[in-house]
Amino acid sequence: MRIETALSMAGLAVALALGSAVVSLLAARVPKVVRFAAMPLLGLCGVAAIVAGLGALLSGGAATATLPLGLPWLPWHVRIDALAGFFLLLIGLVTGTIGLYGPAYVRGLEQGRDSLVALGGFTGLFLAGMLLVVLADDAFLFMIAWEVMSLASYFLVGFQHEQAANRRAAFLYLLMAHVGGLSILLGFGVLASFGDGFAFASMRAAELSPLWASLAFGLVFLGFGMKAGLVPLHAWLPEAHPAAPSYISALMSGVMLKVAVYGFIRLVFDLIGDVQWPWGMAVLAIGSLSALTGALFALMQTDLKRLLAYSSVENLGIVFIALGLALIFIDNGHPLPGALAFVAALYHALNHALFKGLLFLGAGSILHSTHERDLEQMGGLLRRMPWTGLFFLIGCLSIAALPPFNGFVSEWLTFQAALQAWQLESGVMRSLVPIATAVLALTGALVAATFVKVYGIAFLGQARSRHVRRARPGPWGIRAAQGLLAALCVLLGLFPTLVIGLIDAVPRQILGGGLPDAGSRGWLWLVPDAFETASYSAPLVALLLVAIAALVVPGMRRVGARRVRRCDAWDCGFAPSTARMQYSATAFAQPVRRVFALLFRVEETQVPREDGGMRHQIKIGDRSWDALYLPLARLVEAAARRVVRLQSGNVRVYLGWTLVTLLVLLWIVSA
C-alpha cells in the first residue's frame, strides 16, 4: 500500500470518528442510535486506523498534507510515517474491539438518566483527538488535538456525575491535564523560538543549545509524564480511569496513555533530536519509580478498576524505563542496544494496550453482569462466566509477563537491552542500569502477585455476595471483543519476530537504524543482536509445552487410577467451610503491605457493624498526596485569602489605592 493511501485511510478514520460523534447527537431523540450507528462507526474507524497504520509501517515512507484550517500563516499540517503508523495501529486495534464491545454495554445505559448524546459524542471526539495527535505535523494542530483529547475524556470521566467521587476525579483530571498541556505548549515554544515557526519540519531542522534543549526536554517530559501518569504526577489516574464507563477506561488506559508516549517519542527522539544521556537517567529513574510504586499500589487495591488503573501506572513506568535505556545507549554511541530498548518500549506499549484493554473490558463485563467492582464481593466467577474467565486469565498471564504470552516478550527485550549495560563507558551508568533492572524484576514479581490475587479472588473460590452468585455471562458482543483481544495477546506472544519485523520500520526512521539481525534466523527465532548472545523462540517454547503436556496428561491417565471423585473440601473436621472463610483480597496483600510498610499511609480503624460486631477497616493512602498536592492546594488557598483583602468594601480605601498607585507611578516615571 502506498503511503499516501495510508494517509487518506487515516483521514477516513478521523472522519469516521467525527461521524460517530455527530450521529450520537440524534441519541437525544432515539437512544438506540448510539448502539446501532455510533458504535459500529467507531469499529470502522478502528479498522481504518489499523489499515492506515499497517500501510505506513510496511511502506516505511512518510506522506504529508495540509488542511485549510488553522491560523492564516499556519495551516494544519498532517503527516504519517512509521511512528505515527505504529500508534495508529495501536489505537485502531483497541478501538475496533470497542466497536464490537460498545453496543452491548451501552444498551445497559439506555434506561439510565445519563445522556447518551454526551457519551457517544465525546467518545467520538476523544478518538478523533487521539488520531489527530498522532497525525499532527505542527505544534498548533498537535496542541488542539491534544487538548480536545483531554477535554473529551474529561467529559467522559464526568459522565456518571452523581457520585461526588467522580466529579472530584474529573476536576483533578482536567486540572492536571491542563497543566500538562501548558507545559507541553511551553516546550513547543522553546523549539519554535529556535526553529522558525511551529511546523514540525522546521523544529526538526532547529539547532538547540544544550541548555535550551534540556529545558525543552524537561517541559516536555513533565507534560507527557503527567499524561502518562508517571509517579509522582499519577494522582489523577487511579481516580479518573475507574470513574469512566469501562470501555472508556479501556480506551484511556490502553490508548490515551500511549498517545502520551507517542508525544514523548515524537518530541524527544524526533524533534529535539540530539539527545543527552542525563535525560535518559532521569527517565530511567522516574520510570523505575513509577513501575515499582504502581505495582505496589495495584497490589493493595480492592476495587478492580482502580487496581487496573494503578497497574497502568506500573506498565507506563516499564515503557519509560525502556525509553530511558534507549536515550542512554543512543547518546553513548551504541545505536544497536538503543534501538533494542526503543523497540522494547514500543512493543510493551502495544502489549499494554492489548492486555489492559482486555482486562478493562473484562472488568466491564463483570460490572455489567454483577454491578460489582469490589473484589471483596466477588468470587467463583469462572464457573458463571466461563468465557470471560478464560479471556481474563489470558490477560492476567500476559500482564504478569509469563511465557509464552506477549507481556513476556517485551519484558524479555527490555532485560536484553539492560544487559547491554556492560558496553557503557562510565561506571556510574553501568552500575545504575542494573539497579533499574532489579526494580524491573521486582515489579514483574509483584505484578504476578497482583494478578494471582485478582484472578484468584474474582474468578476462583466461592462467590462472596448474592448478586455475584447470580452472575450470568454477558452478551456475545462483549465476549467476542474480549476474545479478539485475548487472541491478539497470544499471537503477539507467539510470533514476536514478525511483529518486530513490522515495528522495526520505526527505529529505522526515527533513530536511523533498527535491529538488523532480529529476524536473521527466520520467524522462528527472536535474536536481539547475535545468536550466541541471546535468543528466544516463543513458537518452540509453546510447542514444547504442548508436546510435553500431550505426553504427560495421557500418561498420567494410563498409569494412575481412572476415577476422580467429587467430595467436600477439607474442613479440618470442623463445620464445613463457607464463602466468608475464604482468604480476602486485603488479606492476600497483607504480607507485602507489611514488607513495604513505609511506602503506604495505612489507616486501620474498627467500625461497628449493624449486627453489633466490629468490622476491621483498612485504608491505604497514597503518600504523594500529602507530599505534593495538598501543600500546593493550601498554598493557593492561603494566597487567595491574602489577596481578597483588596476587596475590603470601603470606597475610600479603594480611592486610596488608586491615589497611591498614581503617585507611585508618577514617581517611577520621573525619577
Binding site: I457, L460, F588, V595
Partner: protein
C-alpha cells in the same frame, strides 16, 4: 553455532530432559537420608520418594465440589512448565538446543508460570489455607525472583550472553579467575534456591502446621495423581536449582562436545556435585530452624543485596574501565 540445532543435539537434549524427572526424586531422597543420618536416625532409603510417587499415582484423585476446571488443569501446567524449565539447564553438555530456545530469562519465566498456577490452584477451592499459602508464596517469590535474576545477570553480563550454554562455555573457556562478583552471586543464588524450593529456613516441606506452611498449604486440597505431579514438580525444581548452582559456579566436568566419554564424565561430575550440595543442604536444614514468616523478607533482602553487590562489583571492578 548451527550445529547446536542438529538432530543429534536434540536427541541429547531429550535424554537430558528425561534425566531430570528421573533423577529428581533421588536427590530428594538423598537429602532426606543425609538429614536423617545427621539426626542420628536411620531414615528411609534414598528411593523412598519414588515409592511415594507411585503410591500417589495409584490412588484415586479427589476433587472438591467447589473446585473449577482450573483446579484439575493446574498440576499438569505446573509439572510441564517446571519440566521444560529444567530441560533448558545444561545438565551434561553445553551444546543444548533447549538452551537456545529458551534462555535464562525464559527459564525464570517458566518457573514463574508454574508458580502462578500453583498459587491459583491453591485459591481455587476457596478454603482459607489455600489463599494463605498462595499469598505467602507470592510474597516470597516477589522478593526471591529479582535476587535470582540479579545473580544470573551477573554471569550473563560476564559472558555477554543470557544463553546458559554459552555462559557455561564462556567459563569453561577462559582460565580460572577469582571473581568477587561470582562469590556474591553464588551466595545470593543459594539463598534464593533455599527460598524457591521451599526448604528450611524459609519453608518446611514436611510440616502441616498451618501457621508455618506455604507450599503444603497450597497443595492441601490435592490428592492422587494431582498431588503426585505437584510433588514431583517440586522435586524437579529442587534438582533444577541444584544443577544451576552446580554447573554455573562449578562448571568443571560439563561436556563441551557430544562425545560419549565426556558425556559420561559430565554425568559423573554433576552427580558428584549434586551429592555434595545435597549434603550441604541437609546439614543446613539440620542446624537451622524454620524462621517466622516476617523474618523471611530480611533473609531474601540479604539475597537480593548479595546478588546486586555481585552485579555492581562486576560492572565496577571487573569490566575494563
Amino acid at each position: 553455532m548451527a550445529d547446536i540445532l542438529s538432530p543429534s543435539a536434540w536427541l541429547l537434549a531429550l535424554v537430558q530432559a528425561l534425566l531430570f524427572p528421573a533423577l529428581a526424586p533421588l536427590l530428594a531422597g538423598w537429602v532426606r537420608k543425609v538429614r536423617a543420618r545427621l539426626q542420628n536416625r536411620r531414615g528411609a532409603s534414598v528411593f523412598q520418594p519414588y515409592r511415594e510417587l507411585r503410591k500417589l499415582l495409584l490412588k484415586e484423585a479427589r476433587v472438591a465440589h467447589t473446585a473449577s476446571p482450573l483446579f484439575r488443569a493446574a498440576p499438569y501446567v505446573v509439572f510441564v512448565a517446571t519440566w521444560l524449565a529444567a530441560a533448558t539447564v545444561p545438565l551434561l553438555t553445553i551444546d543444548l538446543p533447549t538452551a537456545v530456545v529458551a534462555d535464562i530469562i525464559v527459564l525464570a519465566g517458566l518457573l514463574a508460570l508454574a508458580r502462578v498456577f500453583l498459587a491459583l490452584a491453591g485459591m481455587d477451592v476457596g478454603t482459607a489455607f489455600g489463599g494463605m499459602g498462595a499469598s505467602r508464596e507470592m510474597m516470597i517469590s516477589a522478593l526471591a525472583e529479582p535476587a535470582m535474576l540479579m545473580a544470573v545477570f551477573t554471569l550473563a553480563m560476564t559472558a555477554h550472553s543470557t544463553n546458559l550454554g554459552s555462559v557455561i562455555a564462556h567459563h569453561l573457556g577462559d582460565a580460572f579467575v577469582l571473581r568477587p562478583s561470582y562469590l556474591f552471586a553464588f551466595a545470593g543464588l543459594t539463598l534464593v534456591a533455599l527460598a524457591e524450593t521451599g526448604r528450611i529456613p524459609v519453608d518446611n516441606p514436611t510440616t502441616h502446621l498451618e501457621l508455618t506452611m506455604v507450599h503444603e498449604a497450597m497443595v492441601l486440597e490435592y490428592s492422587g495423581r494431582h498431588l503426585a505431579l505437584m510433588e514431583w514438580a517440586a522435586q524437579i525444581k529442587l534438582l533444577l536449582y541444584g544443577v544451576l548452582v552446580a554447573n554455573i559456579f562449578f562448571p568443571w566436568g560439563v561436556a563441551s562436545d557430544p562425545a560419549p566419554a565426556s558425556l559420561a564424565m559430565g554425568l559423573a561430575a554433576v552427580v558428584l556435585k549434586l551429592a555434595v550440595l545435597g549434603g550441604a543442604l541437609a546439614a543446613a536444614e539440620t542446624v537451622l530452624a524454620k524462621m517466622r514468616l516476617f523474618r523471611v523478607p530480611a533473609f531474601l533482602n540479604l539475597a537480593l543485596l548479595l546478588a546486586l553487590l555481585g552485579l555492581l562489583s562486576h560492572v565496577i571492578l571487573e569490566v575494563g574501565a
